[in-house]
Amino acid sequence: MKPSSFGYSRPESVAEAVQVLASIGPDGKVLAGGQSLVPLLNMRLAAPTHLVDINRLSELAFISVADGQVTVGATARHADVLRDPVAATAQPLLRKALTLVAHPVIRNRGTTVGSIVHADPSGEMTAVLALLGGSVRLASTSGQRCVPAEEFFLGPLESDVRPDELATEASFPVLPPSAGCAFAEVSRRQGDYAICGVAALIELDTEGIVTRARAAYLSVSGTPLVLDLTAACGDVGGDLIEADFAEAGRLAMSQVRPTDDIHATASYRRHLVGVLTERALHEAHQQARERAGG
């Protein structure tokens, strides 16, 4: 399984990169980690005419925490983000999700921005961006624009990035003080794409009542599905168990439209939405209570 021919550029700066992208036409593609793209090339399921290899853009290899955002540059590897202690403290969901992405060696090379641009509805990081209401910055010869998560994912494997644009960074809002997050997923083998996955966020008020409960879902829709489950979480404060989130689980189940495939039935996926919503909300709630100090 060998790729078909393509032209190749390896720009040394973002400015050079966008120039090349502007010149190569719609069948060009950006090559970052390659862990999603190169298998497609090898199988000849994708045959871009030209690749723009951005791996030398060290200016984009950053991970920063500022202004309430964790910002990850386009050439920062999953493994780097996973390891980064400042990012992990500021937004624990990043590490929780990244641990579930493929296997360590894939994470060594794959980039977080790359997987977001790849827009796989089974991708953990797409769900994280959607859940947290993050954004992606895109650069081109016409300038820059910032696309919020809710406008970024257009369909399965389809994002809002135009052919002449380079995604330079993705930003994730930090976790507020009285909030908690969690990621729960079921996959066939460890490291496989999830059959169903849930990223959850809970915020508490000073009385420990849930003021916000949001969840984003993997593998049950063409784009990451984000649901507001606040109303279903009730007005009870204090320590809660999984079963206390059953209504939120049922609400989520009623909102999803999963499909059958060779790995799982739609009804099983729907069932998992309920179970994993309970589990993820519960775990997020625990963390929120810890962080709120009560």
């Binding site: 399984m1 060998k2 790729p3 078909s4 021919s5 393509f6 032209g7 190749y8 390896r10 090559l31 390659g34 862990q35 190169v38 298998p39 090339l41 090898n42 199988m43 000849r44 045959a47 690749l51 290899d53 791996n55 493994a79 493929a102 296997h103 360590p104 060696v105 894939i106 060594n108 090379r109 460890q190 490291g191």
Partner: protein
Amino acid sequence: MADTGLANTRSANSGPTYSGPVNSGPANAERAQARSARDQLFDVRLVVNGIVHTVIVPARRLLSDCLRHDLRLTGTHVGCEHGVCGACTVLVDGVATRSCLMLTVSADNAEITTVEGLTEPDGTLSPVQQAFTDCHGLQCGFCTPGFLTTITAALAENPEPSHDEAREIIGGNLCRCTGYQNIVKAVLRAAELKRRRSS
């Protein structure tokens, strides 16, 4: 690679028996027909197991194929070419990487370690290699180079893995022969041998 042109075969020169109207072919066939130019070639400098090589390759040449066929380092094996089996894993600047998912051109100026480079300079097996034979951690040996490089890099970062960490270290590599039992043991044995050798 000498271009001998087309051999004297009936099909290549005169076409097959089947002829007649050509239905519009699949999209990839049309695309393949549109390309008549040779692949553009790139000079790539690779430092492999400490030795500098310059290769001249098309952009699409995978690092796995370059190592195996251009540099004749056939210890790195190809099991799937979609990044799942891990047999092709090498160290790129010390980082375990799937060589089947890397273009040779992307590896320009990189320092690469393959299984051949794990052996000590005096020819002794490295702790990881030795551990594999101590623990019967290989049978057909095809997946083994990918495990050896992966484990070597992992032990550099975590020299004293627990049993569960040992399982995580090898979690992304497929083996069809061993059932993994002895490979897990080999990880822990390698850590032990490393400790002994450094003391």
